[in-house]
């Protein structure tokens, strides 16, 4: 069984509210030194990335690949999938901050597919997407998917 490892590195200075960190994709080098901090993590919106934003990027990417695979199994590979993930961090009584939800929204252009077949592929992709299963064990996952008429 092939096992693939990927690594990220963070350097952090100071403590909590005044502390700051920088995030680097150590395996690919695709991003490096991305700043982040506690105030920007919990703000309604912020110009800095955060762990939850990185999880959203991971989930959207993972789900897109799973859905592409399912549609290809149906012999209707997608022309274009647009997948948006919204990850929600909230305070949970007695537990502090938790990721409570990841909401996926999909807009798809899939020649040769129809609503029934498409929605079935969407369900299989959700069941088969490793990150949906993983995050879904601790948080609520939902998928709202629309097939564009081509």
């Amino acid at each position: 069984m092939p096992r693939i490892t990927r690594e990220a590195e963070v350097s952090w200075e100071g403590s909590s509210a005044r502390g700051r960190g920088a995030i680097t994709a150590a395996s690919s080098g695709a991003f490096a030194g991305l700043p982040y901090s506690e105030p920007s993590r919990i703000a309604a919106s912020a110009p800095e990335t955060s762990p939850e934003e990185l999880v959203a990027a991971a989930h959207a990417g993972c789900y897109a690949m799973s859905l592409a695979a399912e549609l290809t199994r149906d012999r209707t590979p997608p022309e274009r999938l647009e997948v948006r993930a919204v990850v929600v961090l909230d305070e949970v009584e007695g537990e502090g901050h938790r990721i409570v939800e990841s909401r996926l929204r999909v807009r798809a252009r899939v020649p040769g597919s129809d609503d029934d077949a498409f929605q079935e592929a969407v369900r299989r992709a959700d069941a088969g997407c490793p990150l949906s299963a993983l995050i879904g064990a601790a948080a609520a996952i939902s998928v709202d998917a629309t097939l564009e008429v081509t």
Binding site: W12, G14, A30
Partner: protein
């Protein structure tokens, strides 16, 4: 409550197709290309992947949580360097996330640091979201000036 978003566009089938993480809410991540090959082969070819992004989320969450744990204990850190190495088995998913930390923490000994690191590893929001990963491991080490 904080919502964070990311948008991905994918074209084609899984094996020969490709995608881009086009946009994230903060604007801090440039467009990032993703492919199945870059995800599922030993060599990433310079492209990120869902698992590398999860590693980044885990390492960054853990660093912040540890900083909090140490500050609350009255021994705030000067510096922490953390890493997360995520193991991915194509077809199965993430089987392991290995955290490691080197810390410069005045006034704290190795045992105290390891205990704080263990506390942060268990309690940080991303660890909680990854609770179903079979192996979440930790190495923690103090460095002195």
């Amino acid at each position: 409550m904080a919502e964070r978003r990311a948008e991905v566009t994918w074209k084609g089938d899984l094996m020969s197709g490709s995608g881009t993480i086009d946009r994230v809410g903060s604007g801090a991540l440039a467009p990032l290309d993703v492919t199945w090959a870059a995800r599922a082969e030993d060599e990433s070819g310079g492209r990120t992947s869902p698992e590398e992004l999860i590693a980044a989320a885990h390492a960054s969450c853990f660093a912040m949580a540890l900083s909090n744990v140490l500050a609350k204990a009255g021994t705030p850190p000067e510096e922490l360097r953390t890493s997360a190495t995520v193991t991915f088995v194509p077809g199965t998913g993430i089987t392991k996330s290995a955290l490691s930390v080197e810390g410069r923490v005045p006034g704290l000994d190795e045992d105290g640091f390891r205990a704080a690191a263990e506390d942060a590893k268990v309690s940080c929001p991303v660890s909680q979201a990854l609770a179903a990963v079979p192996e979440l491991t930790l190495e923690a080490r103090l460095v002195s000036d």
